[in-house]
């Protein structure tokens, strides 16, 4: 029925090639996480089979030393809180900046652009001092410590989120809002009933990135979370890798342990995410 044109074949060839480059390194890491110590540097390409270098030892080692359960819980608490806050706050700000005309608009925009540039290394110490003065950083209380990480992470992701959302909200046609207003909606109703649904995919995108950056951010977490019960999964990985030295098998296993849950969640949710991503288009 469908004929395969050269253009189509070319398209698939290019797409498949790139897909392989993104996929293969993971396959390689997963394979080697099951390989016996010492064999990785000699032969990392074969498939480790039982009796031929296969071992679960790397995982046993990683699991026995570390409390993965509470680390995953901490990571999820932090990242979900950050994501929700960023989407709400950034959506508001982006909408306000795109639709309203006011004197300080240019200044606000420049401030946000500049905010995106601030390296976290230069802001972390003043933030730490401030939060220590508030009594939430290094208080020894697990929940306060998590809040101490969540707040700067929200701020750190806001600028990016506002910039991206502005780009998308600008392309929402204004006629809809105008007619909703004629029907008696106020600005907030317009935002929640018109803008958010229309730019749903963009909000989903921003949410995904906020979540991932928060989940994967080592630097802030490392600075604020010190004691074992506060540690997140990223910190665990960091600890394992610094303890592993050249134990590449252990390293590979811990990479798998940290990455796989995210991938599973992503693949499981992707139906919804992609639905969100494609909501704007009316595709067959």
């Amino acid at each position: 029925m469908k004929k395969i044109t050269p253009a189509k074949a070319g398209t698939y060839a290019v797409l498949t090639f790139w897909a392989l480059t993104t996929l293969y390194p993971f396959v390689w890491v997963i394979l080697n996480s099951f390989r016996e110590r010492g064999l990785i540097r000699k032969d990392s390409f074969s498939i480790p089979l039982p009796g031929n270098g296969f071992t679960m030892g790397n995982y046993d080692k990683a699991m026995e030393r570390f409390d993965f359960g509470s680390a995953y819980a901490n990571s999820l608490i932090v990242s979900i809180a950050v994501t929700v806050a960023v989407v709400l706050i950034a959506g508001f700000a982006a909408y306000g900046l795109v639709r309203f005309r006011f004197k300080l608009r240019g200044v606000c925009y420049s401030l946000i652009m500049a905010g995106m540039m601030f390296p976290v290394f230069s802001t972390i110490i003043p933030v730490f001092r401030m939060e220590a003065a508030w009594g939430i950083a290094s208080s020894g209380n697990r929940w306060l410590s998590l809040v101490a990480v969540i707040l700067p992470q929200i701020a750190g992701n806001l600028c990016f989120a506002i910039i991206v959302l502005m780009g998308f909200i600008e392309s929402v046609p204004m006629e809809l809002e105008e007619s909703a207003y004629m029907d008696g909606c106020n600005v907030f109703q317009v935002y929640f009933h018109i803008i958010m649904p229309a730019a749903k995919s963009s909000f989903a995108t921003v949410a995904i990135f906020s979540f991932l950056w928060s989940y994967n951010d080592l630097f802030t977490q490392n600075f604020f979370l010190r004691v074992p019960r506060e540690k997140t999964i990223t910190l665990l990985l960091n600890e394992i890798s610094s303890q592993a030295g050249v134990d590449y098998g252990l390293m590979a296993a811990s990479v798998v342990l940290i990455v796989v849950p995210v991938l599973v969640v992503y693949v499981a949710l992707q139906k919804h995410i992609i639905k969100g991503l494609t909501a704007g288009a009316i595709k067959g």
């Binding site: 110490i125 730490f128 508030w134 010190r226």
Partner: protein, 442 residues
């Protein structure tokens, strides 16, 4: 709304903290108040239990003594019913900075295991840690198992830290590689010329003679190479300029490293490899010599336990007046009790008890195998493994030990000096310029 509540929370906590700080200040002024409180709990032999102490040490990460440390903490918890919140890290410049920042912001731990050298001066000068004499006034048996003469002396002349185990640095050799090359395991009379000849032989056989990442850890070779151009007694002298005698000694030491590099005795990728990678070369029989510290022994035990007989502890080749039997070593870290914990009646006894436990003869003996300690009775390690035995044997022939001079310069200066080693060996910078650049930051 949300913001306001947040601000309110922030303000409220700031106020509370201020009040707490105010309260905390009072009992500290009349030292006797907290003193008597301490006495009582002390005479009751064991603290009440249920106290939570925050402890920061450098036994995190890949430290060779990490499991010993964890065991010691567990036995303290079991014996006292107190809980230790361990926030240990890996010792590096970032870790030091984090520890010092905590003291600045008032979020310091109750007990700190830290460097006793110039690194600790900021917290000592700020009065954030308690000196041993003050602690002994209330707890007379505090650190009574230590030789007072070996305690680190701060700039104000007082002792603050209870020393833990010391360290030595010396030459590890891979005996399997050496015997394959027909090279004898070096003895305490090893000379530089003999060493160069051996390296040539080993290189010709296709091995890397020296396992070292000049990018990450040039400091081991630096320390010995400058001693080779001077004497043990003069090791701790710091140059006034790159051109004075000491400065010339440092430059000559750097040039010796350059010479080894140019002869191709370091691994091909010594400027891009990590320390872990080059140590692995040595461990897996692809390199012959490695200068490293006593903490490395446990690394070999943990990772290459079945081939310990392939390694031996030998001597760093000597030039000029230095003897190969002279090495680097000392005690560089110890336990501090912070003012914060001392002034907290609930924590004082627990913190003292913790330090006493960690520095007791029994616990120290689990940390120490071949290192120097300040213990009056010495440590009594049990069941040395072959590598530890080899180290103990080699140490028996050691005729002199001196601390590393790099510990006496500022960390900025040290970082700069070692970062420039790569530029010296590749000829992008002269050794004199590297010394001058480091001195400018001291």
């Amino acid at each position: 709304m949300k913001k306001n509540r947040l601000l309110a929370l922030g303000l409220a906590s700031a106020l509370t903290l201020g009040l707490l700080a105010g309260c905390g200040g009072k009992p500290s002024a009349p030292g006797s108040t907290s003193g008597t409180g301490g006495d009582k709990s002390n005479s009751g032999a064991k603290p009440a239990g249920g106290v939570e102490l925050t402890v920061v040490t450098s036994y995190g990460g890949d430290d060779g003594n990490r499991s010993n440390y964890e065991n010691a903490v567990a036995s303290y918890e079991a014996a006292t019913g107190n809980k230790i919140m361990d926030a240990s890290g890996t010792s590096n410049e970032e870790w030091k900075a984090k520890v010092l920042t905590d003291f600045q912001t008032g979020t310091e731990p109750d007990v700190l295991f830290f460097f006793t050298s110039s690194d600790a001066e900021p917290i000592i000068q700020a009065g954030k840690v308690v000196d041993i004499a003050t602690i002994r006034a209330t707890y007379p048996d505090y650190a009574d198992n230590m030789r007072d003469s070996m305690l680190a002396v701060a700039s104000d002349g007082k002792n603050y830290a209870i020393p833990s185990s010391g360290f030595w640095e010396n030459m590890f050799v891979n005996t399997k590689v050496l015997s394959d090359c027909g090279v004898a395991v070096p003895g305490p009379d090893y000379t530089w010329d003999q060493f160069l000849a051996d390296c040539e032989t080993i290189k010709a056989k296709g091995y890397a003679p020296i396992a070292c990442s000049l990018f990450e850890v040039p400091h081991y070779w630096f320390e010995f190479c400058i001693m080779n151009n001077g004497t043990l007694g003069e090791q701790l002298a710091i140059p006034g300029s790159a051109t004075d005698a000491v400065g010339q000694k440092w430059a000559a030491g750097l040039n010796d490293i350059k010479d080894l590099y140019e002869k191709g005795y370091f691994p091909v990728n010594t400027l891009t490899a990590t320390d872990a990678e080059t140590v692995q070369l040595f461990a897996e029989g692809e390199a012959a010599f490695l200068i490293d510290g006593s903490w490395k022994i446990n690394y070999f035990v943990d990772n290459y336990g079945d081939q310990l007989s392939d390694y031996a502890i030998s001597y760093v080749p000597a030039k000029g007046e230095r003897k190969a039997s002279e090495a680097i070593g000392g005690i560089s870290m110890g336990y501090f009790i912070t003012k914060k914990a001392w002034d907290d009646p609930a924590k004082q006894a627990a913190a003292v008890e913790f330090v006493k436990h960690m520095t007791s003869d029994d616990v120290m003996s689990t940390f120490v195998t071949t290192e120097v300690t300040a213990l009056k009775n010495g440590a009594s390690p049990s069941g040395l493994n072959p590598l530890q035995q080899a180290a103990a044997d080699a140490n028996a022939s050691i005729t002199g030990v001196i601390g590393p001079v790099q510990d006496t310069i500022t960390s900025e200066s040290r970082t700069d000096l070692f970062a420039n080693v790569q530029n010296v060996v590749t000829g992008k910078m002269s050794a004199e310029d590297a010394v001058a650049s480091a001195l400018a930051l001291n």
